[in-house]
Symmetry: C2
Subunit: 343 residues, 2 copies
DNA sequence: TTGAAAGCGTTACCAT
DNA sequence: ATGGTAACGCTTTCAA
């Protein structure tokens, strides 16, 4: 592997000059530049990002730090969309993207999240943490205190350096519930999960608010899935139906699912039970992932701009690194009710 | 940020000793080790991976190099599953995972793919290239010649350093087509795409072989999607139906889709046209992504073990890096026909 | 068992 | 316009 010294020797100049050429500094005179470029091409020289990183104390990489109990998290459509957005922007600005899943499956320590920063692997990170919105708060505080640059997804944040990129989850769930209420639905159930996720609390809260305002607080009915898979959604729906049959509250006439993946599982169960969608039970999902419009009946859902959120987060961080911090710390991207045929 | 010198000073030892402690070398005597560990904790010291990388000429990172015209590639379920497998194994072995999309949208150059290796960012890479199986061959040859370690997905490979991880695409498509033939289907169409992908050629070839062996070569009918989205699948299906109505070959009684994403779009169109699945038209997909069993009717499909392929690729590379090269270069993971109700 | 010093490949300052 | 050189933080001989 050729080094800058090899190039310098080949071109009959000093490493400093080669460096100047690499960085396009206008000090080198054309003839010299030419010779250096030829030497670079001839030796197939690539500057070592590692050495550059050590010298300049910067890595030109951003991290995607995900704390999720599910090892298959990248296969979750929401994560995947965010990742796509991050990757898009990173590539565009010649930044690398480092995927990092902190090892601790149990309690997350600040040390673990700080590790990639401290070890010089990344200049900034996008952080997505499972759990309730107040869990891991100490970790975020620690990141803030450490003065590292990061953007957190779907969470409110205090502190100086952090950005926060969120979807309007509360609004979205409120709008969806209202739509169901307008359609005459009264027994609207919500499918959430025992595995908490910050955005879910907000979605739940939007649902609750709409129910409360409609004077239907007594009808609030929540069934948890064990995870965020369609299989889990099916289980949650099954449990819900069983509970209603057993304990008396009549079957729901509508279901608002915590996300589309759950909704798909729930619809499957409803169909199997011979319940018509939306005639007997309306279903509304959340996220508007690619397949929402292709399930049968096409899924009415609240669109969350996950791809755009990924892009925004990356843009904020990179701009900040390049000396253009945004004035807004908190970025809320709008959600939108996409009415199809399931509810 | 504390350096190894700070720790050394704090513990009253030399940097060498701190280094020895960090790497768990048994030369340091317990009392010293203790003092060093305390200093590390006190200063919240993290060794710089960058400096380590520079010194040891190794990065402890593997790259996922994806050449795909679609910027949203991580949202494709297949990619996402592979990525999940890679991430799982990388984390397990304390390797970082670097996502890299070469900038060139047009013709890929070897230089671009070599860049992350040469610049010391990664020790090895998993490579996924869109295009036909012979396109970009020169690039893979160049990688081989450069002596870098990599595993290529869904492609045959010659050469010394490369691994190849594939699914049994030809087998899977052959089995699926045979199943349709056994069920009495005769006019079986295949949905592929103008955007080629190595695995698709094999799937297509399995389909062709089965049709040929059944003496139905004349019935081979192929409709391309403009991309690999469900919307594209719908377009391909629409075009197919239009062509049949216009030009005479009777409507297909079965569709083998290049992948599940396409299949979902195709099913949507069939339903809209009032065609019953599978009574009028059977549909079989490919991949068995999470939602295959939840569409209506549940999708019969060829399961491709994408998650396992990701894991395998990462395992091979990491084992190789740690001095345990596998004897097998070429790894073919089996596919399996999952019969549900669509075909 | 521990320490001193060279070197990994680059950049940035200071000379020339 | 170009070159010399120290420094980035670490590991690795080699010597003590």
């Amino acid at each position: 592997m050729a080094t800058i010294w090899d190039v310098a020797r080949e071109a009959g100049v000093s490493p400093s000059t080669v460096s100047n050429v690499i960085h396009g500094r206008p000090v080198v005179k054309p003839a010299t530049r030419q010779r250096v470029l030829e030497a670079i091409a001839k030796l197939d020289y690539h500057p070592s990002r590692v050495a550059q990183g050590l010298r300049q104390q910067t890595s030109r990489a951003i991290g995607f730090l995900v704390l999720d109990p599910n090892p298959r998290w990248p296969a979750d459509p929401l994560h995947a969309e965010v990742l796509a957005g991050l990757s898009e922007i990173a590539t565009e600005h010649d930044y690398s993207l480092l995927l990092d899943r902190p090892p601790g499956n149990g309690q997350l320590t600040a040390r673990e999240l700080l590790q990639p920063f401290r070890s010089g692997q990344i200049d900034a990170a996008v952080v997505a943490l499972a759990g309730t919105s107040d869990s891991h708060q100490h970790v975020l505080d620690a990141l803030n205190q450490a003065g590292v640059l990061f953007a957190v997804l779907e969470r409110e944040i205090e502190g100086e350096c952090a950005y926060s990129v969120m979807g309007a989850n509360e609004d979205g769930a409120y709008a969806a519930t209202q739509k169901l209420l307008r359609d005459g639905r009264r027994r609207i159930a919500f499918l959430d999960s025992t595995q908490m996720w910050p955005a879910i609390e907000l979605r739940l809260s939007g649902y609750r608010r709409a129910m409360r305002e409609a004077g239907l607080e007594a009808n609030i009915l929540i069934s948890p899935s064990p995870d965020w898979t369609s299989a889990g959604g099916a289980t949650a729906m099954l449990n819900l139906l069983a509970r209603c049959e057993r304990e008396g509250p009549p079957c729901p006439d509508a279901v608002l699912a915590g996300n589309d993946v759950l909704a798909v599982g729930a619809m499957h169960v409803l169909r199997e039970r011979g319940l018509r969608i939306p005639a007997d039970v309306a279903v509304i999902g959340f996220d508007d992932f690619e397949f929402a419009r292709y399930v049968d009946p096409p899924l009415t859902t609240v669109r969350l701009p996950a791809y755009e959120m990924g892009k925004r987060a990356a843009e904020l961080l990179i701009a900040h690194l390049e000396g253009h911090p945004a004035s807004q710390r908190r970025h809320v991207l709008p959600t939108e009710l996409v009415v199809r045929q399931s509810g």
